[in-house]
Chain length 407, copies 2
């Protein structure tokens, strides 16, 4: 008799953003007169169209697929050389980081990679996560049976080390003083708080991981939003990261590829666990369970690194960061407790009047038809907080802030 | 201290097609004068360009992504309604099968789905596979720790039920008479043998699965190649399949999407295991670990189902099946023992002179520069067999057969 993976059954509720989508749909149905008034600053989805250089590259690649002489079938397991080289050169070598093209694994996005990467580790590894953080890290470890039992009151798992990031510590995780985690998920600029880490602080994590033979999974999906000096763009800026760190990157938020799907994972060949190169394990996973990102999309990714592409990307990021500044300053003026929004497209605010995160979600939706993301959905320390994104149109962002000022 | 998933370490060698690619590259380097002479009939990759209707649809979708008004960000978790409906209508309802659009999960290909589907089942489920068969089924179960220990002499896993498909039984698996498997992988038309199953025979599998509460994972990636009556195009032609069967489908082999990446999985809502709908578990996996196929690619998939698209697809399949017939008849004439090639793009031949599969691989490569796939790579009963594909150009196919005739 077939049996299901009962780890799936332990997951409380559905994936955060699916829940939000359902709640918003239900509100729209119950309030048809207000449906068109809804402004979505919840899910981190971009709204600006793809830029001209990307579009041109994709049209060209589509045409290549129409011609027998230039048609492409299966992509190389780990991605096309043209893209892996562009990534290694632009994202790493230009910053003085020693990462080669064959240490880059092209994929269909950082969500997939951040969900799948845990597979190459043993089930009894102990994970540590920032709290709050992107829920995929914990959820995928739950599915793998790595997290112990769930406490519905505390909303925590018995076998997960939570590293609280609160206003008290400037939303920066502290290095665990007790039990040593095997896998440490770090995400900077952080989703959802928008907080960053200095290079010196990140170096301490790298040193800790090397000393304790832990592995850091460093999610740098929001790297393009860094505006301040002394904030590392990649963990490989830190000495010793090649022996302890995996980095996840995305084209979703810099180039607007949320619906295009492209990302990559970096695993240095120096990174060994119990004498096994993690690079080999991940290559084996790619070769066995994955068939590469579409050729057309990989050409789009390559175009991101052209001079024109880079200029356009700066324009896109600038557009969203203008929104971020408007939200940050507007809500500050209105008396909200806010942070983030300087090196990240996320603004993290404290719900007023002791409201819980979900109470504030319902309140904002029903009073001013604004959709945000409840902070508690990102971990227990996110409770009473709320995330707004800068990914809306400027017009909607202004409208949303003006509405919130009137609350 | 971090530990790796040591199930990965149990995998013998690398993924079959990676090994072949490496061997061919090494041969080309060692024999530069013969490198350009190599004809690849090994990996099941298509060679014909995408057809006009698909190309037009992709250009249109690319343009939509360039315009704020029509730009698309994250796709719906389970795929766009326009594609799911086209699939349900054309692949199922038109054949009288009761499958709804919301039972279709759009993905980036059947390889990924066939590798990931095992995740929603418990680790102590026992799997049964046809022998020989597409290696991804077994390899991904090895990675999950579900297959026991490996016997390097027999090339079998202790906890896998192998169902031999040999010339003695017409390359059709027999229903297990002993231990009942929990998960039964069936692939028809079969990769690699090209064999099919009649509707009556498949009905027996469905009845068996329902009676024993097993789940069938039915891989129908080669459905478009079926030319004979009485060969089911989908498992849902069988009564009762909605309560026991998952079906995997691909756009790779009908529409030539190997480098475009699109597939889908069907999980009927009636399919329950221990009171849990597998549909819910797979939806949860999609929502948590996947972010949808690219919008542009999903529009390409929709175009496959247009009247013009269907006509073009028939042309593509016809092209490859002309190759298949040429190989089948040519090798028969030359005295080889061959099968397949009538309802599938694969020809299955017995290596002559008691050669092993890999001996024949090396012999063909070195003597006539033809690359095929060793049958032993698909399972122990594939030993001494060899797979040729019809996916080359017609010119190369003719050349290859003529060369083999001269051996």
């Amino acid at each position: 008799m077939t049996k299901v993976n009962d780890n799936y059954l332990k997951l409380p509720g559905s994936y955060l953003f699916s829940t939000i989508a359902k709640k918003v749909a239900a509100y729209g149905e119950a309030n048809p007169d207000k449906k068109d008034n809804i402004i979505r600053l919840g899910i981190g989805d971009v709204t600006r169209p793809l830029t001209p250089t990307i579009i041109t590259a994709m049209h060209k690649a589509v045409d290549e697929m129409a011609d027998e002489a230039t048609f492409r079938g299966y992509a190389p397991d780990l991605g096309y050389e043209f893209l892996r080289k562009a990534i290694a050169d632009n994202d790493y070598k230009k910053r003085g980081c020693d990462i080669e093209a064959d240490e880059i694994f092209v994929s269909d996005g950082a969500k997939c990679d951040s969900g799948n990467i845990q597979e190459i580790f043993a089930r009894d590894n102990k994970i540590a996560v920032c709290d709050p953080v992107y829920p995929v890290y914990v959820d995928t470890n739950v599915m793998a049976g790595r997290t112990g039992t769930y406490d519905p009151d505390k909303e925590t798992w018995s076998d997960v080390i939570y590293m609280p990031c609160t206003s008290e510590n400037g939303f920066a995780p502290e290095i665990p003083s007790g039990e040593v985690p095997d896998l440490i998920y770090l995400c900077f600029p952080n989703n959802p708080t928008g907080a960053t880490i200095t290079k010196d602080a990140l170096q301490k994590w790298v040193d800790y991981a090397n000393e304790h033979k832990s592995v850091i999974i460093y999610d740098a999906a929001y790297e393009a939003y860094i505006s301040e000096d002394n904030v590392p763009h990649t963990i490989y800026e830190c000495a010793g990261a090649r022996t302890c760190a995996i980095e996840l990157r995305s084209f979703s938020k810099n180039a607007g590829f949320t619906g295009v799907r492209l990302g990559f994972t970096v695993i240095p060949k120096d990174l060994e666990v119990e004498g096994t190169k993690l690079h080999s394990l991940w290559a084996r996973r790619h070769g066995t369970k994955y068939n590469g990102a579409p050729y057309i999309i990989q050409r789009a990714g390559e175009a991101v690194y052209s001079a024109a592409g880079q200029e356009e990307i700066r324009g896109l990021v600038g557009y969203y960061m203008k929104n971020a500044a408007y939200i940050l300053n507007g809500l500050k003026d209105a008396g909200f407790e806010v942070s983030g929004g300087v090196n990240a497209p996320y603004i993290w605010l404290k719900a007023p009047n002791n409201m819980s995160s979900w109470e504030f979600f319902d309140y904002l939706l029903s009073e001013v038809q604004i959709v945000g993301t409840p902070g508690s959905g990102f971990g227990p320390s996110g409770e009473t907080y709320f995330r707004l994104t800068a990914f809306g149109s400027y017009e909607n962002t202004v409208k949303a802030v003006d509405r919130m000022k009137q609350l």
